[in-house]
């Protein structure tokens, strides 16, 4: 069965090294321009659902802004886990200490999953995506 490609956005809307979040048929997708090659990934981080277009793209590596999980946008693979909020035994401030400790405790059971990717192609200045 051949994939059905649909027009997503104009290629010029995403500059090299940049990302843009779009919604296509109920799918939240981020388009990444890696030096002229376009990749499409699910928008939500495979850790705690943060919006990935607010992260950073370096080459084909995307870092989530929330807990720094890194993904390979070419295949959606999660490359590293979150950076723990309770780094070391630093004594947290009395005001937020208990709150942070509770968050840290809950986060221990959160799994980091790889993310979905979508096939893309360029056609007449448009980025097409197979849903």
């Amino acid at each position: 069965m051949t994939e059905k490609f649909v027009r997503a956005i104009s290629a010029s809307e995403v500059t090299s090294g940049g990302m843009k979040a779009i919604e296509l048929d109920g799918n939240e997708i981020v388009i990444c321009n890696c030096g002229g090659k376009y990749y499409a990934i699910q928008r939500r981080c495979g850790h705690m659902n943060a919006p990935l277009e607010k992260g950073t793209l370096d080459g084909t590596y995307l870092t989530c802004p929330m807990h720094c999980v890194q993904f390979d946008v070419t295949n959606g693979e999660a490359l590293s886990g979150p950076v723990p909020p309770d780094f070391g035994q630093e004594i947290p401030s009395p005001m937020f200490g208990e709150y942070l400790q509770n968050i840290g405790m809950l986060m221990k059971d959160v799994r980091t999953e790889s993310i979905r990717t979508y096939a893309t192609k360029l056609e007449s200045g448009w980025v097409l995506i197979a849903l």
């Binding site: 370096d58 390979d72 490359l79 886990g81 035994q89 630093e90």
Partner: protein, 111 residues
């Protein structure tokens, strides 16, 4: 998570940092593979790729100084011995890393 994929990504990021500092990956390819693998394991355990050969104190301020690449925090020391402590990185002009002894800061006249 896949160790080989993570090693590849770490290589990419580290190269960009150490180059401008005058360092490169050691020509000892086996050592690079081993050390990067240890860093991926440490990252899996602690969330951060620490140096596989330095003291982890569980004290944030001091532990930040051994996050790889830790060259900026030990610039004087590493520039004298032409390598970083674990030997993952060496000065760009080094061809034979086996000739670089692992000398402590005290031994090279630093505190």
């Amino acid at each position: 998570m896949n160790i080989q994929s993570r090693k590849k990504a770490l290589r990419y990021f580290f190269e960009k940092v150490v180059g401008p500092l005058g360092f490169k990956f050691t020509p000892d390819a086996d050592l690079v593979e081993f050390l990067l693998e240890q860093e991926v394991i440490l990252e899996g355990k602690h969330g951060i790729p620490f140096c596989p050969c330095q003291l982890l104190r569980h004290d944030r301020t001091r532990d930040m100084q051994i996050v790889c690449p830790c060259i900026p925090f030990h610039r004087k020391h590493f520039d004298i011995i032409k390598r970083c402590w674990c030997g993952l990185f060496v000065h760009k002009d080094v061809l034979d890393p086996s000739k670089l002894p692992q000398l402590s800061p005290k031994e090279v006249g630093l505190d």
